[in-house]
């Protein structure tokens, strides 16, 4: 039995889009508070390796998932220490975090490489499983992270746009001086935003190692952290648009694999480039009007008013 192309691509888009979405949501929170973390890829790697290592050591995927979120949050707190407390350059610190993440994840993962894990359990609600077009596909047979991906996007949207905390985050991202003058503590809000974003980044990595691939390999994120940074721009710093972005980019990857499996005459090298071509196109299209959407103080260091 063969699955229609549309369903195959959709199924693949959901699976590879899940980690992209969590990573994008995490980066969005930080950028809304005015901080670009180019080290997102490193946070993903730390989440993937810590999650896998803890799961392999304890036998519990849930423990691995919790540890991955915690490790991601701690990783971003280290980044916050650099860029908020020490007021270091965000771009340089982000790249340093990326390299740190590469090394730290390799160190943590090495003793457990090759371990066999059961991974996060998957559920498919019975009524959905009975649908004829669902049978024999991976559709709706998801782990907790995929099931909660959409609610997570709504939660981040709600927190950023419907709570006093989110208003503070966004105010700091637009103008730390104004936020400070209105009685907010920009540094504290930025640290909180980065910690929350780091937890999401760690979960994104955990989805790769604990659910999608059930393995740990060095640099297994293969650039997904950077695609997520581009997705933040694509979604214009809006959590709900990030859902569409993650599906689109996950779909681009799934499409090229599905087309190959269908014996497409298109060169595999060309198909390989599809997600990145899409990234370039998005940056081209959005590039000129970036100021209209980006938090005004994004990437700038706030030195206080003294």
């Amino acid at each position: 039995m063969t699955t229609p192309l549309f369903l195959g691509v959709l199924a693949g888009a959901v699976l590879s889009g899940t980690s992209l979405l969590y990573a994008t949501l995490g980066e969005t929170i930080g950028e809304r508070a005015g901080i670009v973390n180019l080290g997102l890829e490193g946070i993903l790697l730390i989440g993937a390796s810590v999650g896998f290592a803890v799961c392999a050591a304890t036998g519990s995927a849930w423990a691995g998932l919790g540890a991955a979120g915690l490790a991601g949050g701690l990783g971003n707190l280290l980044f916050a220490w650099l860029v908020v407390a020490r007021r270091a350059n965000q771009l340089a610190s982000g790249l340093a975090m990326l390299l740190f993440g590469l090394g730290a994840s390799a160190l943590v993962g090495a003793p457990h490489m090759g371990a066999v894990i059961a991974g996060l359990p998957k559920w498919c609600p019975a009524p959905l499983a009975r649908l004829p077009w669902v049978q024999g596909t991976t559709l709706f047979n998801y782990d907790v992270l995929t099931w909660l991906a959409l609610p997570a996007a709504v939660l981040v949207w709600w927190a950023l746009f419907r709570t006093r905390w989110g208003l503070g985050i966004r105010a700091v991202g637009e103008s730390p001086a104004a936020a400070y003058a209105s009685g907010r503590n920009p540094a504290a809000l930025q640290v909180q935003a980065l910690a929350a974003g780091g937890v999401l980044g760690g979960l994104a990595g955990a989805h790769l190692s604990l659910s999608l691939t059930l393995t740990w390999a060095e640099y297994m994120t293969a650039g997904r952290g950077f695609i997520a940074i581009a997705l933040v721009i694509f979604s214009k710093w809006r959590p709900l648009r990030a859902v569409a972005g993650a599906l689109l980019f996950g779909g681009a990857e799934a499409l090229q694999l599905q087309l190959q499996a269908r014996g497409s005459e298109v060169s595999p090298f060309l198909l390989e480039m599809a997600p990145y071509l899409l990234t370039i196109l998005v940056l081209l299209a959005w590039g000129g009007s970036r100021r209209l959407f980006a938090p005004a103080a994004l990437g700038r260091t706030f030195y206080g008013l003294d």
């Binding site: 490489m113 293969a222 990857e253 190959q260 595999p268």
Partner: protein, 352 residues
């Protein structure tokens, strides 16, 4: 990116080896981690075994060494630490290794790849291509849909050769069997390997196999969806698929490494090109529980045929685009596989 994650680890096999007689220090350079349950692990196991069995040898290892100028520095460093026999175990080390070998005529090199051998530079590899023929026989007998899935990292000649022999083996027992190829674009992009396996299963493939660094993700993805799998690189991968495991191929380098180490110890090393296939450097994994005895016998017979020298790459052979790639009687030998650039008929895929 990988260039930044270098770990140089030294492992002394004989403790306190800095005795009066200088031991033979063997330098091993790996492109990945020795814990990958795959290609790099197969080399580490061989070196560790030889250093344990052969008195007067000591092992120096460097993992995750990128295929760049970094490899040259690592090899120079090993020579400074006394290495007299160096194994650059990844194909991409060729240029670096040859440069270092030219500078250090007193050091012996054994490069896992191809090209010309020189006095102090030997070339070797396990010829897996023909060994894939019995794997194809196994897949062709076990498949119900007649569609076999093959995930490869990059479309290099050796990988294409593996796919071709696999398909020819499958056709020999199941003329309608086709092999669908999906290229991921990297030897270790795990998420894409999962996506590739899913795409093949979506197409109705019921046997999936692979040529990537570590087979774990593809085998587990197939197992979770009730499909069968054939492993590569590590014969231990069968633990990942208690239900769907058919068989697989792995490497057994230890006898060759031991022979080379002895020749260096005896000062009789001469670089040569050594390609060994099934039964020598290439080993077959045990069968899974679901493989009937009749199929096992047929696969073993095909393996014995290959071990005796049967070369499936014998003309006339047509490519999957319809052109005659091998005229009657012509063959492609193990040493020419690197330049292979076609798929045989029955393979669904495009080379470039």
């Amino acid at each position: 990116m990988k260039m930044l994650t270098i770990a140089l680890s030294a492992l002394a096999c004989t403790p306190g080896a800095r005795a009066d007689t200088p031991p033979l220090v063997i330098g091993a350079v790996y492109v990945g981690s020795i814990n990958d349950y795959g290609y790099n692990r197969s080399f580490h196991d061989a070196f560790a075994k030889v250093c344990k069995d052969l008195p007067g040898t000591r092992l120096l290892e460097a993992e995750n060494v990128p295929e760049s100028a970094e490899a040259e520095r690592i090899m120079e460093g090993m020579i400074q630490q006394g290495a007299r026999l160096v194994f650059p175990t990844s194909f991409g080390y060729q240029d670096s290794a040859r440069r270092v070998a030219k500078r250090h005529k007193e050091v012996c090199f054994e490069f896992a790849g191809d090209g010309a051998a020189t006095r102090n530079f030997g070339v070797f590899f396990g010829s897996t291509q023909a060994a894939w023929y019995p794997m194809g026989v196994a897949a062709g007998r076990m498949t119900r849909s007649g569609k076999l899935g093959f995930v490869i990292g990059m479309p290099i000649g050796y990988a294409l050769g593996n796919v071709n022999a696999f398909e020819m083996g499958a056709q020999s027992v199941n003329p309608k069997a086709t092999t669908i190829v999906v290229v991921t674009g990297g030897w270790s992009d795990k998420a894409k390997e999962a996506g590739a396996a899913n795409a093949l299963l979506d197409q109705g493939c019921d046997v999936v196999t692979m040529h990537v660094d570590s087979p774990t993700t593809i085998i587990q993805t197939a197992e979770a969806r009730g499909a069968m799998s054939i492993g590569f690189q590590s014969v231990e991968a069968r633990a990942l698929a208690p239900k769907g495991w058919i068989t697989g191929l792995g490497f057994n380098w230890a006898p060759f490494v031991a022979k080379v180490a002895r020749s260096v110890l005896a000062n009789q090393f001469r670089g040569e090109a050594v390609y060994q296939g099934l039964g020598e450097m290439v080993a077959m994994a045990p069968f899974g529980a679901s493989v009937p005895a009749g199929v096992q016998a047929q696969v073993n017979a095909a393996a014995a045929k290959v071990a005796k020298g049967f070369n499936p790459f014998t003309g006339p052979l047509k490519s999957n685009t319809g052109s005659l790639v091998l005229p009657p009687g012509a063959t492609v030998g193990a040493d020419q596989m690197g330049s292979l650039n076609w798929y045989v008929q029955g393979v669904v895929g495009k080379v470039r």
